[in-house]
């Protein structure tokens, strides 16, 4: 008996007990579904984060106050003077700029909106891929002469000036009136969560929020290799100037990427273990039902032997049936898993990533379970005595 015939017989036998077959493969279905969905969503998320990080460029670092400390780091905040000193003493640096942010209100006439107000300098546009769609970004002269100007993102502009050209218009932040000098494209990435941004010169920000401080420092180097050194030297200068240690925390993008990979790695491992157990239970279910099937079909086995089936023909028939059963479960699980991945991804607003490797692995896994858990029942069938088997009712 050749393979296609065996598969046909297997499908026939499975379809004649359809409900039982579906229930049998439920464990495998769920296992494969979980793996596919979680891997797809996980990889999609990882890719999204990576893309986001790519935007910053990998030769970027940030220094912030260590938030993990118990006491608030009062008196150690970054000052504009700190930045000047770091710039002159760390030659590897290409850019170094202060960032101060507050989530607060913007007024235009009677309208009030909220946005992320980011006080920074002109070089911010060199460290981040901002897309200037109208006017200009902040300039060095804006920053030095504390010009009351603001760059807002398009979504903010749309909300504040649905009909007019926002350039040259005035908005009120805190007690300061600012002129809009440029528009940037809104951050459409899922991680931005729809936050709107307003960029203003750092000194203007500090005027608006006299209680506020520079939240973090961003820098980049000419050469990627120097990034850790430049970051460490900058921290050393800060520590020296503030006479404090372990209070400034630096991160570079390499570290961030490593951290993300570590998290996704652990997640994959955990899911893998859960899926492994689910597939094990599913496999035992398949074995159980195959044993039942062998007993039920004792007469058929006896007849096939009488008609000339060798032991290995019978073995192969039941093994193929177990594999086909598992593969069917696997395929249904895969379809459901892909569906789930799209659903979750739609809710999480990032694209699912379904790779061929995942699909092939799922296939291989289902087939392997079929073989492993099909061996025992198939062997039992193959070792039947044809006379005994034919006599059975």
């Amino acid at each position: 008996m050749n393979l296609t015939e065996s598969i046909r017989v297997a499908l026939d036998s499975i379809s004649s007990n359809l409900l039982r077959s579906i229930l049998t493969t439920l464990g495998i279905m769920i296992g494969i579904m979980a793996v596919i969905a979680v891997v797809a969503v996980g990889q999609g998320g990882q890719q999204t984060i990576m893309k986001e990080m790519d935007k910053f460029g990998s030769n970027l670092f940030q220094i912030m106050l260590d938030w993990r400390r118990d006491e608030p780091p009062t008196g150690n905040e970054f000052t504009m003077q700190d930045l000047e000193i770091i710039k002159t003493n760390v030659p590897e640096l290409k850019y170094l700029l202060p960032c101060a942010s507050s989530y607060s209100q913007i007024k235009k006439g009677s309208q009030t909106k909220t946005a992320q107000i980011l006080g920074t300098e002109a070089d911010y546009a060199r460290l981040h891929p901002l897309d200037i769609t109208a006017g200009r970004f902040l300039t060095n002269s804006d920053c030095q002469s504390r010009r009351r100007v603001a760059v807002i993102d398009e979504e903010m502009a749309q909300e504040l000036f649905p009909r007019d050209n926002p350039l040259g218009k005035r908005i009120l932040i805190g007690n300061q009136s600012l002129i809009i000098c440029g528009l940037v494209k809104s951050d459409s990435s899922p991680l931005a969560l729809g936050t709107k941004y307003v960029y203003i010169p750092i000194r203007v920000w500090l005027d608006i929020y006299p209680e506020g401080n520079i939240s973090y420092i961003e820098g980049s180097t000419r050469n990627l290799e120097d990034i850790t050194l430049a970051m460490q030297n900058s921290i050393k200068i800060l520590e020296k100037r503030h006479r404090n240690e372990d209070i400034y925390q630096g991160v570079d993008m390499e570290q961030q990427i490593k951290a993300v990979n570590k998290v996704t790695g652990v997640m994959t491992l955990v899911i893998g273990i859960i899926a492994g157990f689910s597939l094990l239970v599913g496999g035992i279910g398949v074995m159980n039902i195959m044993l039942v099937s062998v007993t039920e079909r004792t007469r058929e086995i006896g007849l096939r032997m009488a008609l000339g089936a060798r032991r290995r023909d019978i073995l192969l028939q039941f093994l193929i049936e177990a594999v086909v059963l598992c593969l069917l479960g696997g395929i249904i699980g895969m379809v459901l898993g892909i569906g789930c991945a799209f659903l979750i991804a739609a809710l999480a607003k990032w694209p699912p990533l379904i790779s061929w490797t995942t699909i092939l692995l799922a296939f291989a896994f289902s087939a392997t379970i079929g073989i492993i858990f099909g061996i025992l029942p198939a062997n039992q069938a193959a070792n039947m005595d044809p006379i005994e088997a034919l006599r059975r009712d």
């Binding site: 008996m1 015939e5 026939d12 008609l307 089936a309 060798r310 032991r311 023909d313």
Partner: protein, 241 residues
């Protein structure tokens, strides 16, 4: 065609030995139509199992179509069953999920015959038992007599050396039994070698030779007169009833 010499079959030789066959010597020629009779426990089923290569004798030699099969392994025996023996059972043993045509094709699957050849040979055999109008019926949709016709077609499909029929009319009424026996009779006339197990005299009467078994031994071997349908006294008075 069949030659058995000093065939013994002992079940449970260690604990509680049962001598199912004792020193059976037998010669069946090509074209013979042999009825095997005897009371239950006489060894006729065991003889059929050994003859059908479903079981091997404990001792003795068995030649089938010039090949000694008594020392073959299970794969070789499977091939012998497939190509040289056509089984017809009392309860038909058709696979319930397959239609008549597929049931008849089944032995050819194990003979590795390709699809076109399978269906043409199956159609030919189904035609010989007059069932071409029921090709796509499943066994549950057929009467007992129709099932047995399909089973006979299945037995013929690999052109076996012998047809082994084990109580082929045991589940059938007398009219249908006659129909089935007339099929065997015409197969006999075509030159097929047939071995038939039965306990009914009027069924045995279709054969040209009757072997009577008792207590695992061949008790008598009677060649009937060419005119069938007459039941010899020997059998009438035997234990078959």
């Amino acid at each position: 065609m069949i030659k058995m010499e000093h065939i013994h079959k002992v079940y449970r030789p260690q604990s509680n030995p049962v001598n199912a066959l004792q020193d059976v010597n037998l010669h069946i020629k090509t074209g013979d139509f042999v009825a095997v009779m005897g009371p239950s426990g006489s060894g006729k089923s065991t003889l059929m199992n050994v003859m059908g290569c479903l079981d091997t004798a404990s001792s003795g030699t068995y030649w089938l179509g010039g090949v000694e099969v008594s020392s073959m392994n299970s794969d070789q025996l499977a091939a012998i069953r497939n190509r040289k023996i056509g089984f017809v059972f009392q309860n038909y043993n058709l696979l319930p999920r397959m239609n008549a045509l597929l049931n008849v094709e089944l032995p050819m699957l194990y003979a590795g015959i390709d699809k076109e050849e399978r269906s043409s040979r199956a159609l030919d055999c189904i035609g010989r038992v007059g069932m071409l109008n029921r090709l796509h019926h499943r066994p549950s949709e057929l009467s007992g007599g129709q099932c047995q016709r399909i089973a006979i077609a299945r037995a013929l499909v690999n052109s076996p050396d012998i047809i082994l029929a084990d109580e082929p009319t045991g589940n059938l009424d007398s009219v249908t039994s006659e129909e089935i026996m007339s099929i065997f009779q015409s197969l006999h006339q075509e030159g097929h070698t047939i071995v038939l197990v039965t306990h009914e005299n009027d069924i045995a009467a279709y054969a040209s030779r009757i072997l009577l078994f008792r207590d695992g031994r061949l008790n008598s071997d009677e060649v009937l007169s060419p005119s069938p349908r007459t039941i010899p006294n020997l059998v009438m008075n035997g234990d078959a009833l």
